[in-house]
Amino acid sequence: MSVIVIGAGHAGVSAAVALRKLDKDVKITLLSAEGEFPYQRPPLSKKSAFSENPKFDLLQGREYYKTHNLDLRINSKVDSIEKDINQITLFSGESLNYSQLIIATGCRLKKLNTVGAELAKSLYSTDDTKTLSEALAKAQSVIVIGGGFIGCEIASGARNLGKEVALLEAAPTILGRSVAPIFASEISFRHQNNGIQILPNSIIHSITDKGVQTESGLIESDLIVSGIGAVPNTELAHKSALVVDNGIVVNKSLQSSDDNIFAIGDVVNFPFAGAPNRLRLESIQNANDQAKIAARNIVAIRTNEALIEYSPVPWFWSDQGDLKLQMVGIGSLDAKHYVLKNQKEGSLSVLHFVEDELTAIDTLNHGINHMCGRKLLAMNKPISLNNVQSFNDDLKALVNHLR
């Protein structure tokens, strides 16, 4: 019996580690397309890119793979899956057999589709991080294209290094797709107070060595960084005739259209109990929790037990200078948004209600309310605005009451 994990980001490594904890004997092969030991990705945009000599934190110590009998193979990109004979083939030509396969191929960055796009830096890998760190050391002014979480993190990091920073966003507001509008405008306000120039509704014509040419004119800058989102790496799954639709489509037990092939992490489109009824999430919580479910289910298949289902309370975070953004649940622009009153200074907590039922909470610099949100949403009972207000907007009191 052997399990192959394709991809050694958070999801892939977590799955291998979890499986080894559950089964001391199963043969586990962990394949990485990258050329280094698996590393922590969140710090890249939050910390490493803004250090002079970026260091990279590993997901597990170098010895871990040997001592836990995990066959980690770096520089091992998979070319195809021959699912009818439970086999994969690497680009090197080597073929390997599996009993169960876990696909954790993650995402890659969306590329700008504009003249001069190649002049913009981006941030995904350790190499990108080193390149950006070196470029930041030489630059006085920086333009960041894209006002999502990563774009905001890069802009904040550059600003904290004392750079002149402009953040260009195509939509009318930054963070427009992710959080409540009132939350997004507060974050935008804080960034502007910190000296970041925010330029919404920016239509980019081209990028040159002088800066970015937008519809409203040339914005000059020494360094341009793009952070406009990511797309799932589904090519391998698609080529192998697995069902793909904005990610590899899986069931609640995280099996793809082939029962022996699981998929986890950023690359997965999974069924969700709330709305919308299918999700693809790019997050650490999703990667780690799915990894554990997949590991358990692989053991369950072997022992003929029932498979367990993934029913998450999704959570996310973003570190933007002094701002810690924490989100729990799946927020919606159509929800009713309620700002909690009487909260500690400098914080903001916005609740999302759909049909008077709590679905998500966005918090700025308020860990207690975020953690309360995780607990409330995990209770699986409807929480109404009235429930919240009857505890004077004190979420901790509400949690303690319901516990």
């Binding site: 958070h10 977590s14 979890a18 904890k21 922590q40 990705r41 969140p42 710090p43 939050k46 934190d57 590993l58 997901l59 597990q60 110590g61 170098r62 010895e63 871990y64 001592t67 650490i284 780690n288 554990k292 959570w315 975070w317 570190d319 810690k324 924490q326 610099n365 308020h366 860990g367 207690i368 953690m371 309360c372 607990k375 901790k396």
Partner: protein, 108 residues
């Protein structure tokens, strides 16, 4: 260098010579210690790196900051003054030694 002693869940000790600036979560991961998961990569978000600081010699580490206090308060059943999130405990210049007991908070 700072001498870091981890007390593992079976009460055995594991001693590491650490450099200034390292944190107790990543140091434990780098050395393959069981009981520290560090699921969020050291971002003060998951509380899977809970340790109890039993002793410090020399320069002491910075105290808990507000977010760490909040996460500990909400995620650890019975946080005590010794409780720290390992990822937020950064070894300062001049610390001679520190002893950290790994408190099992793994959600697995």
């Amino acid at each position: 260098m700072t001498t870091v002693t981890y007390i593992l869940e079976d009460n055995s000790e594991f001693v590491i010579e650490a450099e200034t600036g390292q944190n107790l979560m990543q140091l434990a991961l780098d050395n393959g210690l069981e009981g520290i998961e560090g699921a969020c990569g050291g971002s003060c978000m998951c509380a899977t790196c809970h340790v109890l600081i039993e002793e410090m010699l020399g320069v002491e580490a910075e105290e808990r900051h507000e977010m760490e206090e909040e996460i500990l308060e909400m995620e650890i059943d019975d946080p005590c003054p010794k409780s720290r999130l390992g990822c937020q405990f950064v070894i300062p210049e001049g610390m001679i030694s520190v002893t950290a007991r790994i408190a099992n908070t793994s959600h697995f």
